[in-house]
Symmetry: C2
Subunit: 342 residues, 2 copies
Amino acid sequence: MLRSMSFLVLSCFSALVFAKQPIAIVIHGGAGTINKSQLTEAQEQAYHATLKHAVDTGYAVLERGGSSVDAVTEAVLIMENSPLFNAGKGAVYTYDEGHELDASIMRGDNLMAGAASGLTHIKNPVLLARAVMERSEHVMLSGAGAEQFAKEQGLELVDNSYFDTEFRYEALKKAKQSMQKLPHQAQNYRLKAPWQPEWNMGTVGAVAIDRSGLLTAATSTGGMTAKRYGRIGDAPIIGAGNFADNASCAVSATGHGEFFIRYRVASDICARVKYQGISAAKAADQVIQQELAKVGGTGGVILIDHKGQISWSFNTEGMYRAKRTEGGVAVTEIFKDSPSLP
Amino acid sequence: MLRSMSFLVLSCFSALVFAKQPIAIVIHGGAGTINKSQLTEAQEQAYHATLKHAVDTGYAVLERGGSSVDAVTEAVLIMENSPLFNAGKGAVYTYDEGHELDASIMRGDNLMAGAASGLTHIKNPVLLARAVMERSEHVMLSGAGAEQFAKEQGLELVDNSYFDTEFRYEALKKAKQSMQKLPHQAQNYRLKAPWQPEWNMGTVGAVAIDRSGLLTAATSTGGMTAKRYGRIGDAPIIGAGNFADNASCAVSATGHGEFFIRYRVASDICARVKYQGISAAKAADQVIQQELAKVGGTGGVILIDHKGQISWSFNTEGMYRAKRTEGGVAVTEIFKDSPSLP
């Protein structure tokens, strides 16, 4: 009798505690020139299915009381393991026909963060970013050193060819053809090589809020097709392609990384929320539709603010994206003209 | 007659245009546990002399109508070439007894930026950061790839041993001794290795405003003594160790880089100026003396706001620093109890 009373009290207590913060997760799989004419029906369905699988997996973690750190990790893992996205398997090719991957993760309660760049053998870069956050005293590791750390942490290593896909190799060939048409000097350092969203599209990210109110953001990418010179984009830069702060919002970005670094996109959106008191949705629109759009910076963001409000904003034709909020079902969208968020 | 009239008109016009914005420059050479007992009189004088040389050289560029991009470059070059600072010659040692350097630069009019990390053969990392900003389509390059780009740009390369100094080698030995006292696992990834400001002190930076009102910030460092795993600190992270925006302020930071990344220090200070309308001095104090101090993040910043107001803030015992404003002379300071800024 006492035991069942205790159970009842505990259950009520749990319900009260757990009712505190509605859970939510939002993910993206890259922004760019995506329209109906470029995707077959089968491709479109494949994207919807993988986005749904990823967002549902992250949601399930939250639903069973798991942390948003686990939720975004699980969601990103599914997209990294899918060849559809430019992250993990399916990463774009560098100029030298290899793959160099970047990832980051940040939690909004204590602003702990982890990032890794220039990875060539880490099957799941998001796991390395997380290991950096949780098991090193550093925030950002790079190249061979980062992989040495990954080995010590027992992370799964793969041959660089694991990341190969036919689709991305075709994109590299097209990128190189386009570069050959440029004057010799420009070729050298791609000064004027046009950013082609369709060559690079597919950075992935996830943002979630758990029952404790913890915001976490994660981002993972293969970067830019035909990239050279150890180029680092915005994905592993805390404050650019990823940011989380329980006092404002959590953001994962995708797009032309150089603009996202210069305009410190993720942290600027959160700064507007924190210091101007505007909603995250409005802040994101200001940065993506105004600041970036006027200088030609293409891309988008997904975000959740400290009240648990989900939003996204992109200035491209489409963005692979999905969301799931407390008690609801997964909503997956690709094109700009998809029904907008409620 | 006509010619001298034209000259007169041009001179007046120039005087009017040039009178628009008073010039100013502020530099730092690292923050940390600096007190009278740790410096000999000769060392103290050497620091004052080099800081004065650097700030005067940058000021001279501004005085003759040069850009703040040139001014900060020249000032940083002098500190990189001096063994007194942890940047260029005099950079700290990595765990493997080499040197890996990082630098960044950003201009506040168009938010163009350049950064490079993990450099082992570039004599002057600030020149590579500038080349990335001005002659590549990227913002951040790393490692061997960054050095390949530097070679193509004709930058001066040196053997890694060029960066050697006895003083820094002693610091590495002390750091390793301290690490050996840690439990084996912690040694592996320095999870609990205490940050020792005196081992790492000496990151350099410069911020300037020229007659056109252009703000520029540059930062250069050898990073953290005994660093491993391709660790990247805040110096080459736009928004963390360096940021410039004519709409708010320009900042160069020095300190425990992991905190400066997580708290996106440079961009947060500028965000407070931009969105809260407070002075850069107040914003810097909020971030350095409150946000960072309460979590144990040691270091400091130098900054100039969009009105040309110079300030600095540090939560350590000292910060090597100097400033020079329109019509004034160089002021160099080291300790906390130096007369504060007017």
